[in-house]
């Protein structure tokens, strides 16, 4: 029996790009580097218009503890600081850099046999955030309030299409393990687990052959959302994170594969300014996994990957995975630390349905990994009865999308959940 969690669903894997090795993506002439690539306070710009910056130079300084430094990804001239929407639709300052294609770079001082404090300081300095998509500053996560005894690496990659973590495991296995060891040192834990879904046998085999004794590779059942934090912790350790609690409450810290890799790079001296990214979907010709510099506009990626979206076809452009990612209004947004994928889905790959009346089949209830009743919460939201939604436990919703995915009436259940959570927070309903 493979390890897994209760309920959940099985979207098609669609890992079309799993055999595409990571290659360097070409660099545009003008990059827009968002100053808020993380959860928390946006970074403060430390460069002015007209400054010459180098690759790896600090351009945005963390504004508070829950914030992260931002580095320039190319060398060139700062031509402006403009407000622009990011991939999730937030208006933030972007530093505009005109690439001089010289790639003169500065790096942080490489650490040899670093101590716990040195590693922690470096993670903070290099601006490492959770690179699975949540972009929570890693140094905050690594200072848990409770004692921690298990470190879990989230390599489930349960979202359809995305394969960048898979390629990272196959190609950068050694650096990944170094990164894991640095985190273990910071957290003072003796045991780490890498959770990988069973549909990546090559990665499991390879990692199992190179990991030392203190890291175990766990084969998990291929089921969505295997990579959701609470579900992953349950699958691997059988510990249940209390409602409203954090993984540290049950002695766990979970981090994404790419985050661990970036930590290893940071200790070696390279701050966080590029990442592995999957470009996929029927709408582009050159699907693949690429090293993309932060600040690359989506329109540039579309051009370089020979986007062939048919003018007559309806299509959908998604930043992130198809289950939890954000549909784009246009291609103006730019890549950031959390951009794990950019998908150009044609109307063959997604169907646009109009919601119809709930038939009470109970699929949303049977599949919800958080054991909620999306049908009832949706009803409450339709009546704008947020108090009832709160009583039904809507705040526990992880917005994984399982309910909407499995709904035969194609009701927009996740949308209702998000609306309820937002309204409850805004109105302070208790």
């Amino acid at each position: 029996m493979l390890r897994t969690f209760k309920r959940g669903t099985h979207p098609p894997a669609m890992k079309n790009t799993q055999d595409c090795a990571l290659t360097d993506f070409s660099v545009p002439e003008i990059l827009y580097i968002p100053l808020s690539q993380h959860i928390g306070a946006p970074a403060k710009a430390v460069v002015n218009v007209g400054d010459h910056v180098l690759q790896g130079q600090l351009i945005g300084e963390a504004a508070s503890f829950v914030s992260a430094n931002v580095y320039s990804s190319v060398s060139g001239e700062v031509t402006g600081i403009v407000k622009k929407p990011t991939a999730i639709g937030m208006e933030v300052d972007h530093v505009v850099i005109k690439n001089d294609y010289k790639y003169e770079s500065v790096s942080l001082e490489p650490l040899e046999n670093p101590t716990k404090e040195q590693i922690f300081a470096r993670i903070k300095e290099a601006g490492i955030v959770g690179m699975g998509g949540a972009t929570f500053p890693t140094h905050v996560k690594l200072s848990p309030k409770n004692p921690v005894d298990v470190f879990i690496i989230n390599a489930a990659e349960c979202e359809p299409y995305i394969t960048c973590d898979y390629r990272l495991m196959l190609e950068k296995g050694q650096e990944l393990i170094d990164g894991i060891h640095y985190v273990m040192k910071v957290l003072d834990v003796k045991k780490a687990y890498i959770g990988v879904e069973a549909n990546k046998p090559k990665a499991i085999e390879y990692l199992a052959s190179i990991v030392p004794d203190d890291i175990a590779v766990m084969k998990l059942k291929t089921k969505y959302p295997q990579g959701a934090e609470k579900q992953l912790i349950y699958s691997i350790t059988r510990r249940i994170v209390p409602a409203g609690g954090l993984p540290a409450d049950v002695g766990c810290v979970v981090s994404n594969t790419h985050t661990c890799y970036s930590i290893a790079r940071a200790v070696a001296g390279e701050p966080c300014f590029k990442r592995a990214m999957t470009v996929s979907g029927e709408g582009v010709e050159k699907k693949g996994n690429y090293w993309v510099l932060n600040g690359t506009p989506y329109s540039y990626i579309y051009e370089q990957c020979k986007g062939n979206v048919d003018e007559k076809m309806t299509h959908k452009i998604i930043s992130g995975g198809p289950m939890m990612g954000f549909a784009q209004v246009n291609l103006n947004a730019c890549t950031a630390k959390g951009s794990s994928s950019l998908l150009f889905l044609s109307n063959k790959e997604f169907e646009h349905h109009t919601p119809s009346q709930c038939i009470n089949c109970g699929r949303c209830i049977h599949h919800c990994p958080m054991n909620l009743q999306p049908r009832d919460i949706d009803d409450a939201v339709q009546e704008k009865d947020y108090k009832k939604a709160l009583d039904l436990g809507v705040m526990n919703c992880i917005e994984c999308g399982v309910c909407s995915y499995s709904c035969p009436a194609k009701r927009t259940l996740v949308q209702s959940m998000k609306l309820a959570k937002k309204s409850i927070k805004e109105r302070g309903i208790k």
């Binding site: 209390p242 007559k312 959908k316 054991n371 009583d391 499995s406 194609k410």
Partner: protein, 365 residues
Amino acid sequence: MTRMVVSTSPHITSKSTTQKIMLDVIIALLPALIATVVIFGVYPLFLTLLCIESCVFFEYIFNRIRKKEQTIKDLSAVVTGLILGLNLPGTVPIWVPIVGSAFAIIIVKMLFGGIGKNFANPAMAARVFLVLAWAGLMTQKTNPVIGTDIGYFSFFNYAFSINPGLDAVSSATPLGLVKATIETGGSPLQSVNVLSMLLGTTASSAVGETCAIAILIGGVYLLCRKVIDWRIPTFYIATVVVFTALIYSKSQYVGEYILTYLLGGGLLFGAFFMATDYATSPKSWIGVTIYGIGLGVLTVVFRRFSSMPEGVSYSILLMNILTPLLEKIKTRPYGVPKRNIAKEIGEKFKARSKKKVAAEGGENG
């Protein structure tokens, strides 16, 4: 870049749609329909088609009059008509299916808000309504035509008559015969044949429910396609077995009673196709358990003690009506600790006595 769709996540959805689910139910009912034609002739098929057509027609008309979006494409009206047709005696005149369909669709389904909002399974509520309104017609026990010299089209003679010929109706169904043996104390298998119950070649007042094999094929299909909740038929049938065993525990023919109760009447049909109706069955574990056990207990009680032959229909109707109450049982979100009810009550009690002490203290002061 012309047409871009923007929506909230998730951006992909499962292949399952309401229409596909209903199509699965229709497919699952086909074995029972074929068995009906083979056993009871062509007239029941005609009645069933009439039910389907009237159900779709009434839903169409209702939506037109109310100026609502047309919903007949979701095929749920077809399912209702099909189930209703299979639940009629094979000799009723042609206005019975039309009246039944009107009741099922207009009153039980559409007036309560359409699909998913009906308070009871529309087909079953319509059957109960017809039984109450035309008890004589609806309790006629149609004789099988297979293996007899009655023609496959002969029942068409009764299309406009309320007095079917004696060759068409029987005096008793297998369960009626079993009930008779309770008084005499003999084995129930003296009067009924298990093989004919499995094949469905027995008299019945609902033509579709006799062939146990055909119903089981359909039921297993629905379970494999994950259309119905496996817990409902399982709990229902298991409770019937256990409760029958309890009631007849003194008899030396317990096994035979259980067998005839399982195969006889509408139990299998009800358990797979009617009790599992989405809108009228609970979803939580506690709810489903109470629902299934309630169905089983009520069915056995009606069959053993009631003078009416409608055990399954009445028990499903009663539990359908109880469902909104069972649906109020909330699930416990992941990570929320189990409620310790004993402790909660204890604490409430403590708080109350403290208040009391405080109040008394206040008076004294």
